[in-house]
């Protein structure tokens, strides 16, 4: 599939990114940690120049994944439903040691912090709501994705 693709490099990272995003949901929901890329299976892939959509399954779990494709990045977000995927907000920034402070400066009204468990959370200051968040990074690039509808239990 990768070798046959018009752009094999893009296809490789597209599949990798989709699997990674699904794993992050899985890890968050189950607490299970496992490094098993081939256990995550992509299907229903639809790709165009700037975007891709598809499903990633792991056992009985199916995740809906949406990917942004540009010459700068390939970035995927995943959730259990298409609606939840559409409800995700992503913020892209440089990967620096002070990225949490920079996030708060760039997004007034929101702060990013880590729970004791190490999982990130975005706090909506006006309401005090804790929004499920995910941080990913590669080289100089970093992204924070969070959801206005997926709340963390206190």
């Amino acid at each position: 599939m990768i070798i046959m693709a018009p752009e094999p490099t893009t296809m490789l990272w597209l599949l990798w990114s989709m699997k990674e995003s699904a794993y992050k949901v899985l890890n968050r929901n189950t607490g299970k940690r496992e490094y098993n890329p081939s256990g995550l299976v992509c299907s229903e892939l639809k790709v165009n120049q700037s975007e891709a959509t598809g499903n990633v399954s792991y056992g009985d779990n199916v995740f809906f994944v949406k990917t942004e494709i540009s010459d700068q990045r390939i970035y995927s977000v995943a959730a259990h439903t298409v609606i939840a995927v559409e409800g995700l907000t992503s913020y892209h920034m440089h990967n620096t040691a002070g990225y949490m402070d920079k996030f708060a400066m760039a997004r007034p009204g929101y702060i990013l912090k880590k729970e004791i468990s190490g999982l990130p959370v975005v706090v909506e200051l006006q309401t005090g709501r804790n929004l499920a968040a995910s941080v990913s990074h590669h080289g100089r690039y970093l992204a924070v994705t969070y959801s206005g509808s997926l709340l963390l239990k206190d």
Partner: protein, 81 residues
């Protein structure tokens, strides 16, 4: 073996302090913040360094220094070294 692992991990982490204090308890993702794409590089480098082959089941568990050491030792023992 920790010294050898430290050499392998160095190019893939920005977490100098965690790397400096590398121990069996160090977690590749939580402490060293190695991402999934670079974790493949770590697995490949460990295979090359120790002349072993790491199967998918072993790789799935390779998330800490302790797990990595156990996997390498098991594979070396299996090959009679």
């Amino acid at each position: 073996m920790i010294v050898e692992l430290k050499g392998i991990l160095t190019p893939y982490t920005e977490q100098a302090e965690a790397l400096e204090n590398l121990s069996e308890e160090t977690d590749f993702i939580k402490d060293l913040q190695i991402n999934s794409a670079n974790l493949v590089d770590v697995v490949l480098d460990v295979e090359e360094k120790f002349g072993i082959e790491i199967d998918n089941d072993s790789m799935a568990k390779m998330l800490t220094v302790k797990a990595a050491i156990e996997i390498v030792e098991t594979k070396l023992a299996e090959s009679g070294r």
